[in-house]
Symmetry: C2
């Protein structure tokens, strides 16, 4: 790209960003980097002031390690704990080590307990220590208690501050209680009603409390469809329930069904977001990775998947090797064989992706799996016949051999039917045996379609053409 | 699978469902179908009663069309409007036509205006008419007004009921207002403060209102980071902002900056969910589809993508055809060539997926694109060298030819570097020219890696081996 062209695209980027919801425009970004370059702390703080912590985290992820370090040091004590929470795990450790200890301590002390837990659970031990030791005793105990719950559990996800009241309270009593309470949580949407044993009996939205007369008993205002989660329930199930049932908040209970915390929608959204991300990445054979990772980390994430693919590709080659004699007599076979395999791979990936998603959203169950398999086979058959006709014609037109056209057509039908079967069957079987279908299905399915594709095409060719 | 085995997996499914957050277990499902079979309406209603509308929608999606019809007719007037909202678009039309007109009218009348809009915007005209005519005049006008905003805009997404108050109010005035107001929305989380011209000046959470003394002015309790959306803003931007800034609700304003509605987190989550789904499906070359679609619809969704793939596969074959003479002398080339192409395709898909996600989450910007490209090239180079060594050894061991080993190794390095470049370059370019990168990148990138893979491998072989 010439410099002129680059200028134009940068201008376009600025214009685009301006009409955007996103505060971190290209212009703001370059102004910030200029302030860092010139060591202008006042200007830097002025530019960063309107940015949300999530935007500042994005900013730190987008610049290189050198600028990141300079920016953080210049920003100094302004550095907010929320920025750490929003930062990609890949560079959190790095940022924590750059922060001066007193800035780190101050930043962490502002956070709520669930955010501190979320922040430190993936850090290296040294960073964990640095953060834990900066907390006040009570907070440290709370965080350590949360960390005692299994990873990816409701217990890790919840915040410990819950707004609760006894079940016999009226609206007026609830309002008086809240008005006098000190340190209500930042965000809460319900009052949870409990019986004398601390068991939850339901919850009332703040809207209902505000809309009702002072004398009305709270139990008359309980929300329908009240749900609680156990501390040891998986965060996947929690996130699924929030999404499926459009929940805003739900209490978390311990093994004796006593309320110990509350999960709010922002926690659930984070989990959903991470899981979507994970699904996409796993389907593509990319481990957990982000743009901020260094070359070495990225290689480490991707190499294993490529190694698996190499093994499957070699298996396909072994199939081809069985037909060397056939190929040496008809080199046209070598020209056409990748088409059959490629179409099978694509059709298999289509069926597979639909199946993996349907399993994740729990739309594919024992009740409809046979119907879905039947459908995939029929879809494969139909698409197979369509492309068999097309490739038959291409085969005849290109190589002047009706027999070759017939062979590639037949191989296409076989491979697309098998692709449909494998695309649905592999993830379903993996799920049953407890393996994440998104993780391993792709390699299995393309192995099947490669092997079947080459075998059907070259095998049929050996029989028909020789 | 033998019947015994099937029994065991079904039992396992039931057990699994029981410890699950999900109310629609396999056992409940079969009991419901049994009630439908025996025409036992009382039993059916009893079984359906604890289910959330979202679960009933899932149930209707999972059974076949015949059972679906019988179930809906037996369920009769119990059919709730929320079920329609939750139903997959693929079978909404079908269900609406099965419902008796008076049941449909009653079901729709219960819904809030934004849900009606969401419900009917994708229906065929006949169903739209059926629903609109069942609404009361005021509601119909509101729905038609919403439908006048562009599709996928904030105007379509918002609900029109907003809890607002003048900016000079105190906490006490707000509470008194809400207590006397009739028809407060089902779910609301803030009071929006407006100036005399209906312009929004900020909003206060209900929690803050409840926690403050009656005399305190609301303006002192305004939430930081207040944002509004314009009616014509895209729902994608809205959903992005909700996710990025952890928002719960935000007012929507018209072109004169007057408040006309409010968007809540459940609407934003729906959009996010649909877009994630779309990204995954598009990356896999599957159009909008669901498990409930019939064979014909599924074929129609998938065929175009397979056709695109066929064209790209034929292009790769044309490259191979240039080297027919080389292949006929060394059939080993035909055996090994798919390995180079397949590794390139996989590496390209990895880079591509990371890039598409990074663009969607706005982590890949003008600020870091060159750094990311550099990284992908280095990653491709590193992985290429690793697999070049492995394949070199395999080539020598398998075919006893060091020259062949060197050729496949060199081709591997070239193709993996190109794969990294194409994987990041194609989506970035598509995004710049306004095409959804998730939609088209896959086909482009694998075409590049196939063509480069075959060309590099066979071309080098022709030079080195002949």
């Amino acid at each position: 790209m010439s410099e002129d062209q680059q200028d134009i695209t940068e201008e376009a980027a600025v214009e685009e960003a301006e009409e955007d919801v996103y505060s971190l425009s290209a212009r703001v970004l370059s102004s910030i980097l200029f302030a860092v370059d010139t060591g202008n702390r006042t200007k830097l703080i002025e530019l960063m002031e309107p940015l949300h912590a999530a935007d500042i985290a994005d900013l730190l992820e987008q610049v290189n390690a050198f600028d990141r370090r300079r920016l953080i040091l210049l920003y100094g004590a302004e550095f907010d704990g929320d920025i750490l929470s929003e930062l990609d795990e890949g560079i959190r450790d790095e940022v924590i080590h750059v922060l001066r200890p007193e800035v780190l301590a101050e930043a962490v002390r502002e956070l709520e307990s669930d955010d501190v837990v979320d922040l430190i659970e993936d850090l290296d031990e040294e960073s964990q220590e640095a953060i834990l030791s900066s907390l006040e005793d009570a907070d440290r105990v709370a965080v350590e208690k949360s960390l005692s719950y299994p990873e990816f559990s409701a217990g890790r996800l919840m915040q410990r501050e819950v707004v609760m009241g006894p079940e016999h309270w009226t609206v007026g009593e609830a309002i008086d209680f809240m008005r006098e309470a000190e340190g209500l949580p930042e965000d809460f949407y319900h009052m949870v009603l409990i019986d004398p044993k601390l068991h939850p009996v339901g919850h009332v939205t703040l809207g209902k409390i505000l809309g009702a007369p002072r004398k009305q008993p709270l139990v008359e205002l309980l929300e329908p469809g009240f749900r609680t989660f156990r501390v040891d329930e998986s965060e996947t199930d929690v996130a699924y329930a929030f999404n499926q049932y459009h929940m805003i908040a739900a209490p978390v209970v311990d093994e004796d069904d006593r309320v110990v915390g509350v999960i709010t929608i922002d926690d659930a959204m984070n989990v959903l977001d991470e899981e979507h991300e994970e699904d996409i990445m796993r389907l593509a054979g990319v481990g957990e990775g982000s743009l901020a990772d260094r070359v070495f980390d990225t290689v480490k994430q991707r190499l294993p998947w490529l190694a698996v693919n190499l093994v499957t590709a070699i298996m396909a080659s072994l199939v081809i090797a069985q037909f060397e004699a056939t190929i040496s007599q008809f080199v046209a076979l070598a020209v056409l064989m990748p088409i059959v395999a490629s179409m099978g791979g694509n059709a298999g990936t289509q069926a597979l992706t639909v199946a993996v998603r349907a399993i994740a959203t729990r739309d594919l169950t024992g009740a409809n799996v046979w119907r879905v398999i039947r459908r995939e086979v029929l879809v494969g058959l139909t698409n197979g016949i369509v492309f068999a006709v097309i490739m038959g014609i291409v085969g005849i037109a290109w190589f002047g051999s009706p027999a070759l056209g017939a062979v590639i057509g037949a191989a296409m039908v076989i491979n697309l039917v098998i692709a449909g079967l494998a695309g649905i069957g592999v993830p379903v079987v993996l799920e049953r045996i407890g393996v994440d279908p998104a993780l391993a299905s792709g390699a299995f399915v393309t192995t099947v379609t490669d092997v079947v594709g080459f075998f059907a095409f070259l095998g049929l060719a050996g029989v028909v053409l020789l």
